[in-house]
Symmetry: D2
C-alpha cells in the first residue's frame, strides 16, 4: 500500500545560505516541494512587512519551510537508534516540518485580524483537501495526510513527534531565528544549533536537552528575546502592519457600503461572503495583494487611495507610546480633534499592541501557553524545567511585556488647514513622545 | 541656488546583511531613497528568475542599489584629499550610484528582448522626466539631474567619475558580486573588498589600483568568473527565462491576432502600441507581472495557459547542449517532429545562448567592451593593464565562452500520444545529452 | 619638546583575524610595537593554560594588545569633535591601550599566587623604568610615561580616559571577548561591537552609551557571562592551573630546603630572593618556563618530576565539586587517606575556587568593584545605570557565583597498592561526583 | 588479536575554530592524542616564523593534526559503502591522518637545511620506535605501526589510501589552507570543502572528484595559489627564516671551532655528532629553541648574539629582488664591500629562494612531483586530469615561479663608520629595489 517511501536515485541538494545545503533523499519530500501549493510559498514573504524596516528581509516562507525540513532531518539523524524514537515516524516528521506553514497567506497577520480567517485552518484544508500536496501524501497511506495535519495541529498522539516541530525549542523556531537574523543582518539571532542538535534526546512525550547543553540553550533563548524586541516587534514594521490592516478594513467597509470600485476586489470577494474556496485562497498571494494596492492608489475613495499610496511608497505612520501615562480624556480629545480636522481617527489614529503579535519568547508559566517548556536531562536521567536551572532564563521568562503604541500620520500635522486643531494634537502627542521607559 | 547639499540632523543608518550598515548623512540621498520611483525597486528582484534555482536569491534591486551607494561612499572616503579627486562631485557620484538601476523593470532581460525596450533609456527618463526623483535632484541645481544621467550613461566628461560606477572594478559590481553570493549561499563571490578600497586611487580619467593590491584584484576577478558560470548563467535560471520570454511573446502574438483575453494585458498595452508612458512603465513591477501570469493560467489559449502554469509552479524545461555536434538536419528534423506531435516548436523548442546575457567577466580586449580595463599603479606611478601583470587574469580574460542550450519540455515526451514521433525526438536529443565538454 | 606625535609617511597595517586590519598612523605607536618589551608579549599566551582545554586558544598577549589598541583607535574616531573629548589625549589613550598588559609574565595567575608578585606593578616598572618602551614614550614629553602608567593604574585625573580602557565596557574587554571567542571557537563571545562603538559617547568622567544601543550592550554582557562560565572558568583549564601552581610551589619548597637541582631554577631565583630585577623579569617568558618544566621531568624529586610530566603531557587532575555537601570530616579523612597511601595531599588534593580568578562579569553593586558600571544616556541627556534598565542584566548582575572544585589524580586510584585506602577515597569522592547543581 | 578498534563509551568532542567540532569515537584515536609525542606538537607552531609576519598565526601542529584527522573522518563517512573503499582501512587512514606530522621539530625547515635532518625520517622512527604512539598503535596488530608509516611515506600498496592524505587534494592540504587562512586572517584560503567532500569518490588507486564539482576544485586550487604567494612565501617570513638558519649555522660553526658557550647548545649536541637519539629529538621543541636563543643574546660572539637579538626582538633583514637583473660582478662587489665594512656576508648578505620552500600549488607536469594530480570523474565514468578541463587551473599550473631575494641588515647602512663602503652598497642595492616585476 505504501509506495511513498521510495528513495531518489540520487540525492538532491538545495544551496541554502543559512544551512549551506538542504539534502533531500526521499521521493515523497521531493514531490511535495514540487507541488503548486508549496511553490506558492515563494510568493509569500516570511516576515510580512518587515522588509520595510530591514530591507534585507525579503525572504519567503518557501525559504523557511525548506530550512525547517532540513533541521528536522538533522534532528532525526541524531535520534535514529535511540530509545523512544520510532523510525517509522521519520517521513511523518519530515512532511510536517516541510508543510507546517503551507496554509499561510499573504501578510497573514493582518488578513486574519480583518477577515477572521486562520492560516492553521487552511493548512489542514490544503493537507486533507483535493490538492497536489494531498495526492502526494496519500502515497504513504490513506490516513497519512490526516496524521501530518494532526502533527501540525499538535493533536497527534505521539507528543514526542509534536514537540519536534512545536515546542519551545523546535525545528521551526531554530530555523526562523537564524534565517531572520541572516536576512535582516542583525547580529542577534545566532546560537550554536549544531551543539543543540547534539544534545537533543527523545523522551516519551517530548524532546529534551542534555544538561551539558544548557548554556547553548540559554544562548538560544537570549537570541529569541533579542529578535523579539529588535526585529519582530519593531515599531516601523508595526506601522506598516497598521496601514495594511486599515486598507483591508477600508475595502471591506467600501464593499459593504456599495462603493463602486474601479478595480473591484475580486480576489477578496470570498472573504466578504464568508465562502472562500480553497482554490480562491490558494490564488491569494503577495503579488495579487500588491497588484490591488497598486490599482487602488487611483480609486476615488480618498482614504483607500491614500492608505495604498502610503503602503506602496512607504509613507508610514509615526508613533508615540500609548501607556499608563495616557489619560482617557486625552484619548477622547485626540479623536475629536482628528475628526474636526477632517481626518478619520478610525483609520488614522490607531493603537497597536505588541501582545497581539504571534511571536513569543520563553514563557513557561502562562496559562495560554501551548508549547511545552524546555526540559533538561541530568546524567541520572531526571528532568528539570529550564528556567529552574538557569538564572538568565528565569530572569526573562517571568515577564510578560506588552507595549502599546499610537500610530498617526505625523507629517499631516504640518500641512496647511486646521492649524488650531493640529497644534492641539501636537501638544497632546508631544507629551508622550520619547517617554519610553525601556523597562517598566 | 544649491539647497540640496544639506546634512541630516542625525545620520540615518540601514542595517544591511552584506555591508553591515549603510550610512546616510546627506538629505539629498535620504530624500531620493524616499521617492516612490526608488521604493518601487523593492518590487523588482535583483536576479530575475534566479530565485527558481537558488531559493535564497529573493533580494531586490532596492537592496542592491543601497549597497552600491554605500560602496561609493566608502570609495569617496578613500579619495577625499587625494589628487584628481574633486570633492564637488561627491553628491553626483553618490546619486548616480544610488540611481544607476532606477530604470529597471521586472525581469528586464526578457522584457527587453521581447518588447525591444531598454532599461537604460528608462533610467534617463526617470531622472530627467517629471518624477519625484527628478524633483529631489534639482535641488542641487537645474543641470544636476542631467549630470547624474550622464554619469550613468558613461557620457559624463569626467571619466574618473564614470569609472567609479562603470568599469571593470566599480561600486556596482563589487556590490552585486558580494550580495548575490550572500543571498544565493554559494561560496564563491567573496573577495577582500576592504583591501581593494584601500588600494584604489583616483587618476585623471579612471580609478586605478595600487599594484600591492594585485592579489586582491585577482581574487575579485576569480569571483566574477565563478559567479558568472555558477550563478548568472545557471541553466535552470535560463530555463525559467526562456519560459518567461515565451509567455510575453505569446501574449504579444495573441494581442496582435485579436485574441479575446479573459484578463486583458492592460499593463502591457503600451508595449504593443509602442507608446508606453513613463507613468505606465513605473506601474509595471513584478507583482503586477505575476498577477497577470496567475490569471492567464486560466486563459483558453492552451499555450499561454500552459506556459504560465509552468512559470508559476516551476515546471521548467530541460535542456541539452546545442553545440557544434548538432547538425543542421537534426535541428530541422526536431522542429518537424515537434510540429507533427502537436507541440509548437516556436514555444517549446528554444535555443538560449549565454552570450546574450548581460553579465561578463574580465574581457579587456573585446571590441564591444564598454567598461575600461583595470590598471595597476606601480610605485613609480606607471600604469599597467591587469592582465599583463597577472597570469591568472590573463588566463581567463582572453576567452569568450558562449554556450548554447536547447530547452524543451522533457516530461511531455513520456506522455501518451504520438509515441513514434516522441521516440524519434528522444533519440536525437539523447545523443546530445551530457555531451558537455566542460572545456571547449 | 614633543617630538613624539609625528605621523608615519605611510600608514602601516597589520592583518588581524578578529578586526581584519589594525591601522597604525603614528610613529609613536609603531615604535612602541617594535620595542623588545612589547615583542616579548609574543611569548606569553593570552589565556594561560586554556589551550589545554580549547586547542585553538594559542594566541598571545601581543595579539590581544594590538586588538585593544585598534578598538581604542576606533573609539577615538567616534569621539573626535564631541564634547568632553580632548584631542590632546589621543596618543595617551592609544599608548595606554597598547601597553596595558605589558607587565604580564608567563601564566601570570599562578606565578602571582605562588610568588606574591603582581603584573600591574611590573607594568608601571616597564613604562617608567629604563626600557625601550620608556625611551619611546618620553619623546612625547618627560611626564608622558608616568601619565600612561597612571591611566593603566586608573589614577589618572581624567576619568573619561581611564574608563575607555578600564570600565565595564572598555577597549580591553571588547577585544578579549571577541578574540578569545574567535580562537577557542566557541559560539558565544560575539556581539555587535560596531553598533556599540557608534553609540559610545564621552562624558565628563566616563564613557556612556546612548540608550538606543541598550540591546547591543545586553548582548555584550551576555557574551561576557557565557565566556566566563564556558571558557574562563572551565574546570579543565583550572586543573592545569592547579598543577602549574603546584610545580612552582614545589620548586620554591625544594629550593628553600636545599634540594640540589639538576637544572637549577636560575630564572626564578629573583622570586626566591625577593629581589627580581626588571631585566630578570623581562627574560621570564613561557618558552623559558616550559624549558624548565621539560628539564625538571628528569629531576630526582618524584613530586616535581611527576607534576612536570603531568603538565607537559597533559595528564591533568580530575575533580569533584567541593561545595556545601562536603562535610569537614570527609575532607580531613580524605587528606589522611592520601597521606596513608603515600600521596602528599598538599600537592595532590587541591581545592580551587573560581572566585580567585581575575575575570568577572557585570557586578555593579559590589564593594570590591574597581570598574565603573555602565550608564545609558537618554535622549534628554540623563544617565541611568544599565542594570536598572535591563531585565536581563539585572538578572545576572546581582549574583556572585563562586564555585569550588577539588582536584586530584583520579587514575592513581586504580593503580596497585593501598587498595583499601584508595577504595575509601573513591567512596568519599563518588558521593560528590556529578552532584553539580547547575544553579545553586 | 586486534584489541584496538574499540569504541569509546561516549563520543569525545574538541571545539575547533575551523571545523567547529572534531569528533572522536575510537579509543585508538583518543589514546593516540593522549600520547606525549602527540602532545608535544602543541609546542611546535604550524607555520614556523610566519607569526612574525601575521601575528595571528600562532597555531601549532597539534591544532592542524586534529584538523586533518577530522577531514579524513568526514571523507571516510562519504566513502563508506562505495566501491573501492575498504572499511577495514578506516583506522589506518585516521591514524595516518592524525600522525602525519608527528616527526616535525621546531622550525623544521631551517633545522633540516642546516643539520641535514628530515622530519619524515623522524616520523617513521616515532611510529615504529619505542614510543607511546607505537604502543597504542600495536593494539591494532603488530604490523599496524608499519602500515601507518607506509601510508605517510606513500609506500603503502593501496594507493587510494595514500592519496587520501597525500595527493593534490587531500585531508592535509584541505586543513592547512583553511586553518592558515583562518589564523592569519587573510581572505584567501577559503573554498567550499563541504562541496568537495560530497563529490569525492574512491577509485582503484586514488581519490577522484565528480566533474560536477570542478568549480569547487578550481576555487580550492586558486586558494592554494593565493596562500602560496600571500602567506607561505611572504618575504618577511622568509627574512625571519634566514636569520633563524644563520643562528643555527653560527652555532654549528662555533661548536666546531671550539668556542666556549656560556649556555652550551646541549639540546643540539646530537645534531653536531650526527647521533641524535629519538629521545633527544622529542625534547627539542620551540620552547627549548627559544630558551637558547634568549640565552645566546648574551654570548660573547657578536654574530650569534646579534642574530639572536634580531630574532627575539624582530629586527629582521630587509631585501631586494635578486633576479636576472643582478649581474655577477655586482654580487661579488657587494660581498667584498660587506667584508670591508666589517660585516660578514656569510651571515648578513643572504640569498633566499622561494623554490626551496616546501609548499607548492598545482604542478601536474613536473618531474619531481610526488603527489598525484587531480582527476575528474565524468558521468560515463571516465577520468580526466583537472588542468585539461579547467582553463584557470591550466593557466597557473604550467608555470614554475621561483623568486630569489637578497636579504641584508638595511638599518646598518645608516650607522656611523665605513660610510664610503655603505654608500656603494646602497647604490648597488637601490637599483634592484622595487624592480619587482609581479609577472616575469
Amino acid at each position: 500500500m505504501k509506495t511513498g517511501n521510495r528513495k531518489l536515485q540520487e540525492e538532491k541538494v538545495f544551496k541554502d545560505p543559512v544551512h549551506r545545503y538542504i539534502h533531500v533523499r526521499d521521493e515523497l519530500i521531493w514531490d511535495l516541494i514540487g507541488t503548486k501549493e508549496f511553490q506558492r510559498l515563494r510568493r509569500i514573504r516570511q516576515l510580512g512587512t518587515t522588509f520595510l524596516t530591514f530591507h534585507g528581509a525579503e525572504h519567503t516562507r518557501f525559504n523557511h519551510s525548506l530550512g525547517v525540513y532540513e533541521i528536522m532531518r538533522r534532528i532525526i539523524e541524531v535520534f535514529e537508534g535511540k530509545p523512544y524514537w520510532q523510525h517509522e515516524e521519520r517521513l511523518l516528521c519530515l512532511s510536517a516540518a516541510l508543510l507546517h506553514d503551507i496554509g499561510h497567506g499573504p501578510f497573514s497577520h493582518s488578513f486574519e485580524k480583518v477577515f477572521q480567517t486562520d492560516h492553521e485552518w487552511w493548512t489542514r484544508k490544503i493537507i486533507t483537501g483535493d490538492t497536489e500536496v494531498h495526492h502526494v501524501l496519500t502515497r504513504m497511506g490513506k490516513d497519512f495526510p490526516q496524521k501530518v495535519a494532526d502533527v501540525i495541529e499538535k493533536t497527534y498522539p505521539n507528543k514526542l513527534v509534536v514537540s519536534m516541530i512545536s515546542s519551545q525549542i523546535d525545528a521551526d523556531r531554530m530555523d526562523y531565528l537564524q534565517r531572520d537574523a541572516f536576512y535582516t543582518g542583525v547580529s542577534y539571532g545566532h546560537f550554536d544549533m549544531e551543539r543543540i542538535l547534539r544534545v537533543m534526546r527523545p523522551r516519551e512525550d517530548q524532546v529534551v536537552i542534555k544538561n551539558t547543553g544548557m548554556h547553548a540553550v540559554e544562548d538560544y533563548i537570549m537570541s529569541r528575546y533579542q529578535m523579539y524586541w529588535q526585529v519582530y516587534f519593531h515599531p516601523v514594521t508595526r506601522s506598516a502592519e497598521v496601514i495594511l490592516s486599515k486598507i483591508l478594513q477600508r475595502v471591506k467597509h467600501l464593499q459593504a457600503s456599495g462603493y463602486s470600485f474601479k478595480q473591484p476586489p475580486l480576489h477578496f470577494q470570498g472573504f466578504f461572503d464568508k465562502k472562500l474556496s480553497l482554490d480562491d485562497y490558494l490564488q491569494l498571494d503577495e503579488s495579487v495583494t500588491l497588484f490591488y494596492f497598486q490599482m487602488w492608489q487611483k480609486e476615488d475613495d480618498a482614504t483607500l487611495s491614500d492608505l495604498c499610496q502610503r503602503f506602496m511608497n512607504r509613507h508610514l505612520f509615526k508613533y508615540v507610546e500609548f501607556d499608563q501615562h495616557f489619560v482617557m480624556n486625552e484619548w477622547l480629545k485626540l479623536q475629536e480633534l482628528f475628526r474636526k480636522a477632517g481626518m478619520d481617527p478610525e483609520y488614522y489614529l490607531v493603537i497597536d499592541s505588541s501582545s497581539d503579535l504571534p511571536y513569543d519568547f520563553y514563557r513557561p508559566g502562562e496559562e495560554d501557553e501551548e508549547r511545552m517548556p524546555i526540559h533538561l536531562l541530568t546524567p541520572d536521567k531526571k528532568l528539570r524545567e529550564l528556567s529552574r536551572e538557569s538564572d538568565i532564563v528565569e530572569a526573562i521568562s517571568g515577564k510578560k511585556r506588552t507595549d502599546h503604541k499610537l500610530y498617526y500620520p505625523k507629517e499631516w500635522l504640518d500641512t496647511p488647514g486646521y492649524e488650531n486643531e493640529k497644534q492641539q494634537i501636537k501638544d497632546i502627542l508631544q507629551v508622550h513622545d520619547g517617554k519610553t521607559d525601556t523597562k517598566q
